[in-house]
Symmetry: C2
Subunit: 209 residues, 2 copies
Amino acid sequence: MMTDKHVHILQVAEALFADKGFDGTSVRDIAGQAGVNLAMISYYFGSKEKLMAALVEYRSNYTRGLLEELNKDESLTPWDKIDRLIDLYVDKILNNYKFHCIMTTHLPTIQSGDIKAMITDIKAKNYEEVKKIIQEGQKKKVFRKVDIELSVGSVMGTITHTTLSKSLYCRLLNIDCNDDELYRKKMIPKIKTHLKQLLRAHLDIKNQE
Amino acid sequence: MMTDKHVHILQVAEALFADKGFDGTSVRDIAGQAGVNLAMISYYFGSKEKLMAALVEYRSNYTRGLLEELNKDESLTPWDKIDRLIDLYVDKILNNYKFHCIMTTHLPTIQSGDIKAMITDIKAKNYEEVKKIIQEGQKKKVFRKVDIELSVGSVMGTITHTTLSKSLYCRLLNIDCNDDELYRKKMIPKIKTHLKQLLRAHLDIKNQE
DNA sequence: TTAACTTAAACAAACGTTTAATTAAAGAAA
DNA sequence: TTTCTTTAATTAAACGTTTGTTTAAGTTAA
């Protein structure tokens, strides 16, 4: 059972893991910052690794639902779906960038194969949903032939890059690196515009060569 | 002074950091795998963090030289330069992906501000070189107006994504995840083709809307 | 009264670093 | 070359912390 206290601990752990990494965060850090006794973490989750697994599961159930919903909507054109897809991912990642940092950067360092397989599963399933959108566009002769795996990779990679190289973009755009709110406010529309322009050129069947 | 032994330790540390992260790798691990005494790491580099700084410097001097050389070559058209740029980065990152993993994923977890600033500096300088290429193409009316920062980000992000989500791509392409050689052999041409197609559509002034 | 929750304290193991003793190498004087 | 001296390189052992986890006693709520 997941009480409010469980969730609170997960949220604190999330912020710490994102900031200092899995190994760089001690169970004492988490307990201290969450205001609970040290032993509660083991009592609640079993171990530090299982806490991580619980965090991943807690955060990952949400996205797939949104993707499946988007795919089912038959009133949308393929171009509409691409635009919504970009909006969805940019918002999701930049607004939960702490969790996203963990998923992309810190999880590979975890030695537990179980958790790694779990993540790959989640990514693969989300990828399949996006693939359907592109294939539908190709079937309707709106999109041209492209490398689907890497087209998805370019979208994900671009967004990830803006979270991983945040300090670089802050410097390029003259933003104070500690002002998260401002960074999101400036970057979210910028990334959306760029990705939509990029994919419009990339997918348009009129740009066939 | 950098002896062969220094370099050997750096290479061992690089592989371990890439695999298990900075905090996840102990100085004892490094010493053991490198076949040197534990105390030698402190004796040679001063501390674990300074070893990391030495590693970054050792690996980073190379790339900028290549970029500057590419930019000076006036016999190349902007499209040629884009193609060479992609070849350069894809080869560089996939062939040194261990180091690249450290740069992108593990370094943000290091608490030392000095090293972080060092990395941001390196990235910013490399970015400036790429920016010059795109601006030259725009000046010659070959490239259209695009978001330069994020266009570079899409290239870097795509390549990074293939190293960070290696296990996902292995599954999608039915490759044994442990066979690094095969992964590189299949992915390098695949990424190059995709990125060249992507940028051709993205940058071409004829696709102006 | 029973079960779930919470705690302070203790556990052994692993951590990065330092110490002090020893060996190897290099240079100068014989 | 040989011997002596000085510096550098290397080592095993120990340092004091911090790590994740467990224990056993205590509290709360049903």
